[in-house]
């Protein structure tokens, strides 16, 4: 049985039940008879095969005397079906106990990122949620983060020993010939600050084990803290092949995307070229392009630069701009949209969502070709969705030049230099908006708020469910908060901490009519959290962090936040599926 505690991308952390003992995953299977670095607690080991046709995983307690194995728990027969060549090019998994699937040929495939990335995605899909994925022969420290990110949960220590036999000293940032290391590199108990060029094979092996254990700890923490992608991007820098692998994994995104939470609090550091392609960032852009609909009536599209501080509206830059808009009298007339990387385009109403409120980029002021193409694509899609009477670019000149040809004839440029917050640029913006307000009237701040909340709902639930939720409603509040209601019945509210609308039971009734974001449960009264065992069906679009409606036979029983993906809560037999906020 699995006890999943942390989720990030396709990686999970938690405890695997091995009968008498529980072991932590992501896990490293140590090799029986080899000294492993952990001295004080139980670790999983690959036991010497009592029967050579099988592989056995057991737990052992390590001491200087070597491991003391307890009875074998997981047994894997070696079968021909498991040989990839024999399986029509499909990935074949073999069961190792009831909770682990063995990804055969993983180590061989790993040498070819082009083949490995789709294979690991297929293996992850086939192992589904209720089984961990074990990749035999993989486990070098520098590979652990990216492999965990792709969905591999279990590694083994064989490659650590093979590397030692070749004199390769492994670290989280790469592999080095021990013989060339004249200065201490590491202070692990095997190294003790000594120079590796004097090490025996056994000493190098012991260091490699510590290095893997340390990196495994870093990976587990990164999963718990939602920082795995950042760790991955740092690690893949150590070798072009790992970088290539990450790019291939990103190109096979659906697998990782489904498992990436949609609402979270961790920061996103878009430090590298690869950040542009990370699954949760790519998902944001795809949703802005395909799901999001501007539901505002505001006649003026105002393009703005991003700010370092998030959410944008709390930054000094944006406050200065927003004050100018307000003072010009055009506050009720403007749909403001932020042009940025790696997210491309962030309409104001999405500024509180993940990862819009959470990303940091090293600001250099210019866009590379990929960023430019992505910004242009999203802006074109927005301009196709809605005709704006007026378009104002208050973008720094280098950004403006990137998109100028996409903007309708007659658009107005209010920023002529590189810095949109310079007083003379703001003065020009104010003057232009004031003249528009004279023509168009003042507009309504309430309509702006309604447009924002409704637009956010299209991104969150899809346009159909959002439009159903907003039929004939009133809104109140002041951005970045807001409430949606009909008379005295509240349907939804926007809390600033999640950036997504929270539903009431009444709001849930409206969403449920579209069938979207529903979790169908067995017939039982809801009193607290919904556990996976009680879930009969769920919208496959549900991601961890989504607002969901709990139903039974068409009746809304509760609303709350998904703690699992839709497919996961259907498949799993244990664990919390929905954190219930309100129930009937």
């Amino acid at each position: 049985m699995l006890n999943v505690q942390g989720r990030d991308a396709a990686a999970r952390s938690g405890l695997l039940d091995l009968g008498e003992r529980k072991v932590e995953f992501p896990a490293m299977l140590w090799v029986d008879g080899e000294m492993a670095p952990s001295e004080s607690h139980w670790e999983p080991v690959l036991a010497a095969r009592p029967n050579p046709a099988a592989l056995v995983v057991t737990t052992a307690r390590f001491s200087d005397a070597g491991p003391t194995a307890v009875a074998g728990q997981l047994v894997l027969p070696r079968t021909l079906e498991a040989v990839p060549a024999m399986s029509e090019g499909r990935v074949r998994l073999a069961p190792l106990g009831s909770s682990v699937s063995v990804f055969h040929g993983a180590a061989a495939l790993f040498r070819n990122p082009r083949r490995f990335a789709p294979a690991v995605a297929a293996a992850r899909t086939e192992a589904a949620y209720s089984r961990l994925l074990y990749a035999p022969g993989l486990g070098e420290p520098s590979q652990l983060a990216v492999l965990a990110y792709a969905g591999i949960d279990v590694f083994d220590a064989v490659p650590l020993s093979l590397a030692a036999a070749e004199g390769r000293y492994l670290t989280s940032h790469g592999s080095f010939a021990a013989a060339t290391l004249e200065r201490p590199e590491c202070v692990c108990p095997a190294c003790g600050g000594e120079a590796p060029n004097s090490f025996t094979e056994a000493e190098v092996r012991r260091h490699n084990q510590y290095a893997a254990l340390q990196e495994l700890g870093a990976v587990r923490n990164a999963i718990r803290n939602g920082q795995l992608r950042e760790l991955v991007e740092a690690r893949v820098r150590s070798h072009p092949e790992l970088t290539a692998l990450l790019r291939r994994i990103d190109a096979h995104g659906p697998q990782v995307e489904e498992r990436s939470p949609i609402v979270r609090r961790s920061r996103v550091f878009a430090n590298t070229k690869e950040s542009l392609r990370r699954a949760d960032v790519a998902r944001f852009r795809e949703r802005v392009r395909d799901r999001y609909q501007p539901r505002t009536q505001a006649p003026i599209l105002l393009l703005l630069p991003c700010s370092h501080r998030k959410p944008y509206s709390r930054s000094r830059t944006h406050r200065a701009i927003l004050d100018t808009v307000w003072e010009s009298g055009a506050g009720g007339l403007v749909h403001d949209v932020i042009v940025t990387s790696p997210l491309g385009l962030v309409p104001r109403e999405l500024e509180l969502t993940y990862p819009a409120a959470h990303y940091d980029v090293p600001v250099t002021g210019d866009w590379d070709a990929d960023e430019g193409a992505m910004i242009r694509e999203l802006l074109s899609s927005l301009l196709k969705k809605r005709a704006y009477g007026r378009v104002v670019s208050h973008l720094p000149q280098h950004t403006y030049r990137l998109v100028a040809d996409l903007l309708p004839a007659g658009h107005v440029v209010t920023c002529e230099g590189p810095d949109a917050t310079k007083p003379h640029e703001l003065t020009r913006l104010g003057a232009v908006l004031r003249s528009f307000a004279k023509d168009l009237g003042r507009g309504s701040m309430r309509d702006v708020l309604r447009g924002r909340l409704h637009g956010l709902a299209t991104y969150q639930f899809g346009a159909e469910a959002a439009d159903k939720l907003f039929e004939g409603v009133q809104v109140q509040g002041k951005w970045p908060t807001g409430k949606v209601h009909i008379g005295i019945d509240q349907l939804a509210m926007l809390p600033t901490d999640r950036g997504f609308l929270s539903l009431t039971i009444d709001g849930g009734e409206r969403i449920a009519r579209t069938g979207k974001y529903c979790v169908e449960i067995e017939d039982f009264p809801v009193t607290g959290s919904i556990f996976a065992v009680g879930v009969k069906g769920a919208d496959p679009d549900i991601r961890v962090g989504d607002e969901v409606v709990v139903t039974h036979g068409g009746d809304v029983r509760a609303v709350g936040v998904a703690a699992m993906t839709g497919p996961e809560m259907v498949e799993m037999r244990r664990g919390e599926a929905v954190k219930v906020r309100h129930h009937v």
Partner: protein, 360 residues
């Protein structure tokens, strides 16, 4: 015999199917001249303690009868067969073209990609003609055959024909391993150790010599398993053999082994393993010649080490083959190379893996 190796429960159908799949890209050459033999070459061969010149002839026949239905996981010799009937006249024509090339060699080895003693492949008339004429030119005639074709009558016939000309006859039997588990599940050989023993006994009773082939590292065995298996197999087959030849698996085209190799699930054996089985097998094989000619040795498709030490090790193996002096094997084992620790690690760790621990 010994069954220390245990392999997954594969059926003949599983393996035969997998073997057939590996051949899908092979195309039969319809235009081939059936009156021409495939290949002929000359080499040194030691026999009865002295070095001789030997001529090796590959005849083009219809191919191996077993191969038509099943085939073996490592055997790619079918590429040189005709895949259609080759009649007795054509076979004799091939033989006579080769006989014209005879330059005083004393040993003749005839291979067909199948079984010289299979009358469906080499018709009785053709066999009688070839053996009669060959025994006039050569002191020793060696042919290859599966045990089922080694009938007492046929063996007597060929031996009598040879003896009449003062020559000897020897049959090479592909035992591969004395473990039926390995033969059934890793090779798809289709016969077991007892069939080999029966055939070898029949040979000896007829006065025909026995050369036994053993296969070092069939697919699905670890390096450790195959070394132990071959050391055992040498001891098991030695009482029935005049010559024991350990053949390290080489990766032949259109075989299951090649499919696995391309998928990086298979690595040909290390030369260090060849040395170990010769060294450890030698005492039990005292009554027989124990040798190994690694086909494609030193290359990626043949038995190889790291590429730095291969040539030196292969040189020692060759010297051992002709002299039978185990000191050459020991000298080869003492060659210092940085790939030795890796080899030791592979031996130790491959049993913890599901596929090949090390592919280069």
């Amino acid at each position: 015999m010994s069954e220390a190796v245990q392999l997954p429960s594969l059926t003949l159908a599983d393996l035969s199917q997998a073997i057939a799949k590996s051949r899908t890209r092979f195309k039969v050459d319809e235009d081939i001249d059936l009156n021409r033999y495939v290949k002929l070459w000359r080499e040194d061969e030691s026999w009865q303690g002295t070095k001789h010149r030997a001529m090796t002839l590959i005849l083009r026949t219809r191919g191996c009868t077993w191969d038509y239905q099943h085939g073996c996981t490592m055997c790619g010799y079918f590429v040189d067969t005709a895949h259609r009937k080759v009649n007795a006249d054509q076979l004799v024509a091939q033989w006579r073209a080769a006989a014209a090339e005879h330059k005083g060699e004393s040993i003749l080895k005839i291979y067909t990609g199948g079984n010289f003693l299979d009358p469906a492949e080499v018709m009785d008339d053709a066999r009688r003609t070839i053996v009669a004429e060959a025994s006039r030119l050569f002191k020793l005639v060696i042919v290859e055959s599966r045990p089922e074709y080694c009938t007492p009558a046929r063996l007597r016939e060929v031996e009598d024909a040879c003896r009449a000309n003062g020559s000897h006859f020897m049959v090479a039997l592909g035992l591969e391993s004395s473990s039926d588990e390995v033969c059934d599940k890793a090779i798809n050989k289709g016969y077991g150790f007892r069939h080999f023993v029966e055939a070898a006994k029949a040979c000896r009773e007829a006065g025909v010599g026995v050369k036994t082939y053993l296969l070092l590292k069939p697919p699905f065995l670890t390096e450790e398993e195959t070394v132990e298996d071959i050391v055992r197999s040498i001891a098991d087959c030695a009482p029935h053999s005049d010559i024991i030849s350990v053949n390290p698996t080489n990766v032949q085209k259109f075989t299951l082994v090649e499919t696995l190799w391309k998928d990086r699930e298979y690595r040909s054996p290390w030369l260090w393993s060849v040395l170990e089985v010769l060294r450890r097998g030698k005492p039990a094989a005292a009554s027989a010649v124990l040798k190994s000619d690694p086909v494609g040795g030193g290359s990626k498709r043949g038995a190889h080490n790291c590429g730095r030490c291969d040539e030196e090790v292969l040189g020692h193996i060759e010297s051992y083959n002709t002299t039978q002096d185990i000191a050459f094997v020991e000298a080869a084992g003492a060659v210092e190379c940085s790939c030795k620790p890796l080899y030791r690690a592979v031996r130790r760790l491959e049993g913890f893996m599901t596929g090949s621990a090390w592919v280069d």
